[in-house]
């Protein structure tokens, strides 16, 4: 035991020796600490009660007496901080933090004065000793109970840089803070130390500008004189419509989302979103945001107030005639309704006149005020199926300026923008003033310019030429559909299968493609003809169950190049090729049950493929650099005469540099020496 103590003592001495320079350093930290307390006492608010530093505490005590005598006469409640428990400076005030029950012994709390020696003897551990131990202090005292007998043991900290003697006690204790008395002080402290919190941020009130700006919601007024915004339902976290989404001013948007019904019979006539009336009837649009705020009369002005809705300045939704009706195949035709009549949904074995599409066309003037709103409606019937019934709705908002007519959406200006449809059309000639003029006939539907085959939901080829997939610039694409054939079909009807396949692949024939996204249809020179690879051979059948020489794939290649400035490249289409795949043998696979007798009508599917590839053929500029100006000689030619025998300028320069280096070295050397 003694030997161990001796060893520890030795260790301590070593540590003190190690620590000497550190304790010297403490002197500087002391002064720094004092300086910081000085700053604290200087702050406003501390001068009155001054609980910060020991020197000031003394003055508080005398001042406090004076206040008490004053309070004795006026009998006013004590001021803040007055008579508060005094916090001694540089003292650990939590001497027994486990004593939580007054007048009773707390279990395992050895410092609890209510505990008797008998109580302590039943304790297993002293929870008061599990105080936070300062890692920097070399020794910590741990009181343990062994065999229920109290014994104090010193455990040395193993840390090498522990503090043996701390000359500056103050830095181990918190400074004594002042209570907050005024709101200003509170705000100051909160700003200085506080950070983000769960407090609800201050709400910015809706501002009503003099005119609408891009992206603003458009205000509506309901018949009940409730204010609202024009909605544009769209999907949020599911494919179902979220009705609270507002439409944005001047941003053309198209959304499609789903509606789900549980019981068609009861919900058909009551559910608001099934009725077309919900989306244009019973509310009007405010021409400018401020209008409603400025013009809406006060509530007590009853007569005028309730007739406000009839105000001419509010914009009514005009239904565009005719209202369209969509049948099961998706064809849209006029419903044949009387003008101005839009029916509500009605149930009769199926739910009729259900809203399927709404298209708002909003006309505005150049100063951000709305002038007119047109609404195009598409209605349809939905039939009840078992379980949940789902159907989709489409919402569109488009904006037009009052004086702008005959607008055309470019696919780029001039270079194509990725994702925009490629302009494609056919050459037409027209006889104008005795001379033939050529121009390009372009479909008005931009999704019907250059197209590829589309697959229906069950995988078969879509036959409607208007319902195909547009080819967008820069988007490599692959699609396909399936032709189903039976075993007997394959031998006898190869030509029919081939025709069906080619029909699906080609769709509507296009002859010319625009080189730029803004090519003029009148200027045929800006359009390049599509190169068609001729199909060689025709289908034939040699063996039962096979069709040889079948063309089932079309690969469209678009070569483009960036032109113009390097920092602002503009894509220009150089050429388009329709490349039909080589004739392929379609064979009805006879494996397993397929070709057994009696299963001749089992269908097998063959894939018809369309793909599009974009090839970037941009050539980067070849840099043309000016000739090297060479090294300009400032010294006379014979300055280094003996060393410049070779007249090669490079050699000359090298030798000069070498000699300059040698001379410099010599000069330096002599100076150092």
């Amino acid at each position: 035991m003694a030997a161990r103590c001796g060893k520890e003592y030795l260790f301590l001495v070593v540590k003190v020796a190690v620590f000497l320079p550190l304790s010297l350093a403490q002197v500087t930290t002391d002064s720094a600490f004092n300086a910081s307390t000085q700053i604290l006492t200087d702050s406003p608010g501390t001068s009155t009660d001054g609980l910060t530093s020991p020197g000031v505490v003394v003055t508080t005590e005398s001042g406090g007496d004076a206040v008490t005598t004053a309070a004795g006469t006026a009998a006013a409640p004590p001021g803040p901080g007055e008579g508060a428990t005094d916090i001694p400076v540089n003292t650990d005030i939590g001497s027994c933090i486990c004593d939580l029950t007054e007048n009773a012994c707390d279990v395992n709390c050895c410092c609890d004065e209510d505990c008797t020696a008998e109580d302590r003897s039943s304790f297993t551990v002293c929870s008061d000793t599990s105080k936070v131990v300062d890692e920097q202090v070399c020794f910590r005292s741990t009181v343990i109970y062994t065999e229920n007998a109290p014994e104090t043991v010193n455990t040395s900290s193993s840390s090498f840089f522990c503090i043996v003697i701390d000359n500056n006690e103050g830095r181990n204790y918190y400074t004594v803070p002042d209570p907050v008395e005024t709101v200003e002080e509170f705000v100051n402290l909160a700003n200085m130390y506080g950070s983000s919190s769960f407090a609800i941020p201050d709400d910015t009130n809706a501002t009503y500008g003099d005119f609408y700006k891009v992206g603003d919601s458009m205000y509506t007024l309901y018949q009940s004189l409730a204010l609202g915004t024009l909605g544009l339902p769209r999907t949020s976290y599911s494919s179902l419509c979220d009705d609270s989404n507002p439409a944005s001013f001047l941003l053309d948007q198209q959304t499609s989302c789903d509606r789900q019904l549980a019981d068609l019979e009861t919900e058909c006539e009551t559910t608001p979103y099934l009725s077309a009336l919900t989306f244009f009837d019973g509310f009007k649009l405010a021409p400018t945001p401020r209008y409603l705020i400025d013009a809406l009369p006060a509530l007590n002005d009853t007569g005028e107030y309730y007739s406000f809705y009839a105000n001419q300045s509010l914009i009514e939704f005009a239904v565009q005639e005719p209202v369209l009706c969509q049948d099961e195949t998706g064809q849209q035709t006029s419903c044949g309704l009387d003008p101005g009549v839009v029916p509500a949904p009605s149930y009769d074995t199926q739910c009729g006149n259900v809203l399927l599409q709404v298209a708002y066309t909003i006309t505005h003037n150049s100063s951000g005020a709305i002038e007119a709103v047109n609404v195009q409606l598409v209605l349809g019937n939905i039939t009840s199926t078992t379980g949940y019934l789902r159907f989709g709705q489409k919402y569109t908002v488009a904006f037009f300026k009052a004086d702008e007519v005959d607008t055309f959406s470019r696919s780029g200006n001039p270079g194509y923008i990725p994702g925009m449809p490629i302009l494609a059309g056919n050459l037409v000639s027209q006889l104008v003033d005795g001379e033939t003029r050529f121009s390009i006939e372009l479909s008005s539907d931009r999704n019907n310019w250059l197209t590829v085959v589309k697959s229906t939901a069950d995988g078969t080829c879509e036959t409607n030429p208007d319902s195909r997939i547009p080819v967008n610039f820069g988007e490599d694409l692959r699609t396909g559909c399936m032709v189903s054939v039976t075993f007997s079909d394959t031998a006898d009807r190869c030509q029919i299968i081939q025709d069906a396949a080619l029909n699906a692949l080609n769709g509507v024939t296009r002859e010319y493609v625009a080189t730029f996204g803004n090519s003029d249809v009148e200027n045929v020179g800006d359009w390049v003809p599509i190169l068609y690879e001729q199909i060689t051979g025709s289908p034939s059948s040699s063996v039962e169950g096979t069709c040889n020489n079948m063309v089932v794939a079309l690969h469209i290649e678009v070569i483009y190049a960036n032109v113009g400035s390097l920092v602002n490249p503009q894509a220009k289409i150089l050429g388009v090729r329709y490349n039909y795949a080589e004739g392929k043998t379609l064979s009805y696979t006879c494996a397993g049950a397929y070709c057994q007798t009696g299963s001749g009508s089992v269908l097998q599917n063959f894939e018809i493929t369309s793909s599009v590839a974009f090839i970037d053929a941009s050539t980067l500029p070849t840099p043309i650099l000016a000739e090297d100006p060479g090294f300009e000689d400032k010294l006379p030619n014979d300055f280094f005469y003996p060393f410049t025998i070779g007249r090669s300028s490079v050699l000359e320069l090298d030798i000069r540099l070498l000699w300059a280096g040698v001379l410099g070295y010599l000069v330096l050397k002599t100076e150092v020496a």
Partner: protein
């Protein structure tokens, strides 16, 4: 008048001895010590020989336009499948559903290397089919140039299943490289420029995901698609398509490689030299001390003695 030093030069002090003496032995021992002690010291302090080093490089990635798609519907017996491999499609006759695939590569900073690929796969589904899960494999051509010229076929696999039927799956992530071993310093590495999916095979076993994945993960160099934020748009779609869309980004990778011979040597030399100089200095001082005080006896040759001091 003050005296100033105007010039000085050192004086050589020579100590001589014959070959087999303790002085000779000492000098040789000191020389060897000066030479080897720094080496041992540097070696012990670790890091003398540079075993691997790092560099950053953005890979050159090209989408190979090859993919394999599996879509799970609520019908336990059935699923939808499609790939760009004809043999696979032939095998999956009954489940085949041809999607519309669109891809667009983008080079943001126009440095000639593509930075991302946008893809969208819209699978036609019937109104009665509720999509509950999707598995998609995209294949890329992956190349590195700076040290070893690596070229391989890389795979991005994305998967999502949900108890709720969905209409859309959106995955925006990064194609990250996984190195099991450091790359070599200089070589053309085409070990893994082999197809991830053997599209020539007519056997179902070659298209099983478990086989594809275990083959792929046993590669020393492979990639994975890191998508921390997948989005499953719930609710079956009434538009009769299930859409999978997203972006595969090709970030700059931190690559580990085995440095070349000269790099190792230069790095070691720098460390060795730093310690060697200290040893040369210290040993020189020790030698001067020993010979000046003649702790080891040698013949001390008197240097030239100035004339004034001559007797």
């Amino acid at each position: 008048m003050a005296v100033r030093e105007i010039y000085s030069h050192p004086v050589y002090q020579r100590y001589k001895t014959s070959l087999c003496t303790s002085a000779t032995f000492f000098v040789i021992a000191a020389f060897l010590f000066t030479l080897f002690a720094p080496f041992i010291l540097v070696f012990w302090s670790e890091g003398l020989w540079l075993k691997n080093a790092f560099y950053r490089e953005q890979p050159t990635v090209q989408f190979k336009h090859q993919m394999l798609l599996l879509v799970d519907t609520q019908d336990e017996a059935s699923y939808l499948a499609w790939s760009t491999y004809q043999n696979f499609n032939q095998l999956q006759q009954q489940h085949l559903r041809i999607p519309l695939v669109k891809t667009r590569k983008e080079d943001n900073n126009r440095d000639g290397r593509y930075d991302m690929l946008h893809f969208s796969v819209s699978v036609p589904v019937l109104a009665t089919e509720n999509v509950l899960g999707v598995k998609l494999i995209l294949l890329f051509d992956y190349r590195l140039y700076r040290f070893s010229s690596l070229r391989m076929e890389a795979m991005a696999y994305m998967e999502h299943t949900s108890p709720l039927s969905g209409s859309e799956f959106i995955a925006d992530g990064e194609l990250r490289l996984r190195l099991k071993m450091p790359l070599s310093h200089k070589a053309v590495d085409t070990r893994y420029d082999t197809p991830v999916i053997n599209g020539d095979s007519v056997f179902v076993s070659d298209y099983q995901l478990s086989k594809i994945f275990s083959d792929y993960i046993s590669r020393n160099v492979s990639t994975y698609f890191e998508c921390r934020y997948p989005v499953w748009q719930r609710g079956p779609s009434s538009s009769e398509t299930f859409l999978i869309r997203g972006t595969v980004r090709y970030p700059e990778e931190l690559l580990v490689y085995i440095p070349g011979f000269f790099q190792v040597l230069i790095w070691a030399w720098v460390q060795y030299l730093a310690v060697l100089l200290i040893f040369i200095y210290l040993i020189a001082r020790v030698k001067t001390f020993i010979f000046q005080n003649q702790l080891i006896r040698t013949i001390v040759e008197r240097p030239f003695v100035p004339k004034d001091h001559r007797l």
